[in-house]
Amino acid sequence: MTVATIPQTASPPPIDGIFRALSDPTRRRVVERLNRSPASVSELAEPFGMALPSFVEHLKVLEGCGLVRSQKTGRIRTYQLAPEPLKLAENWLAEQRTLWESRLDQFDAYVMKLKESDK
C-alpha cells in the first residue's frame, strides 16, 4: 500500500481492482500460469478453449489493474506478472502497518533533520 490504502489509506486502493480481477477463475489461472514464467497470448489462451477475443478481454482486465504487464515483439505479445501490485494484495492490516512504518521512518528522519538545523 504502500501505500496505503490508502484508502482509505494514503494510497486509495488499487487493491479493489486487483481483487475484482482475481475474482474470476480464468484470470486466476492465467496468474497462476504466469507465476511460472512469462508467456505469449496463444500460450496463455491454449488451455481454455475460449474464443480469442473473449480471452483477450480477461488479459485486459489483468493488465488494467496492474497485475500483469505485456510487451509486443514483432507480432507476438508476451505477458508477465508485475510484482508491485501483488504486494498490495497482501493482508489488509499488513498494508496499514507498512503505511505507518514508512510514515514513521520519514517522521524520524525529518525530526533528526530539524534537530540538526536547530543547532
Binding site: 479493489d16 514508512s102 520519514q106 530539524l114
Partner: protein, 161 residues
C-alpha cells in the same frame, strides 16, 4: 474517576507502533502539528502531500491532500482533532469532520503519544480501525474459492523478486 484504560487494541484491526527518537519531544510535537513540517513526512514516498491544513484545537481541522507520483490519484482527507495535550498527546479521527460533524466514511482514529526518555522521546502511534470498514473491504475482495491459494503463490513469488 474511572482509571480503566479507554483503549484496548484488537490485534485483528489495530496497530500500535512504538519508537524512540533521539530528539526532545517538543521538536516531535512541532513536526506533528505544523503544516509545513507535516507536508515533509506524512505520506510515504513516492506519494507526496500537496496541501496540509491544521487548526490545532479539539474539533479543529486536520487536512492532508495526498497525491500519487503521476498526479492521477488523489486522497484528500479531512479529519477532526479530538484531544490535544501539547507535547504529550494528539488524537484525531476521520469519523468526524471539523466541528464534530459526523462524516460519511469513517475509517480511523489515530492516537500519538510522546514520553520523554532522557534526552530522547519514546512515542507511540496507535491506529484504531473501524470493524465494519475492514469487513466491507473483505467483502469487496470476495472470498472466492481458490483465491487464497493464488495469493499464497503470489506472496511466494514476490519473495523471489
Amino acid at each position: 474517576m474511572n482509571m480503566t484504560p479507554l483503549f484496548k487494541p484488537d490485534p485483528r484491526l489495530d496497530l500500535v507502533l512504538e519508537r524512540v527518537v533521539d530528539a526532545p519531544r517538543e521538536l516531535l510535537w512541532t513536526a506533528y502539528t505544523k503544516p509545513e513540517h507535516v507536508r515533509q513526512w506524512f505520506t510515504p514516498k513516492p506519494w507526496i502531500v500537496t496541501d496540509c491544513e491544521i487548526d490545532l484545537r479539539p474539533g479543529g481541522l486536520f487536512r492532508t491532500r495526498m497525491q500519487s507520483p503521476d498526479g492521477k490519484q488523489v486522497n484528500d482527507r479531512r479529519c477532526c482533532y479530538l484531544d490535544i495535550v501539547p507535547n504529550e498527546r494528539l488524537v484525531w479521527t476521520d469519523a468526524l469532520l471539523p466541528g464534530y460533524r459526523p462524516s460519511g466514511d469513517p475509517f480511523i482514529t489515530a492516537v500519538i503519544s510522546f514520553q520523554p526518555e532522557g534526552k530522547a522521546t519514546r512515542y507511540t502511534a496507535t491506529a484504531i480501525h473501524r470493524d465494519e470498514a475492514t469487513r466491507n473491504n473483505h467483502e469487496e475482495m470476495g472470498f472466492y474459492d481458490g483465491w487464497g491459494t493464488v495469493l499464497d503463490q503470489l506472496a511466494q513469488y514476490v519473495k523471489t523478486i
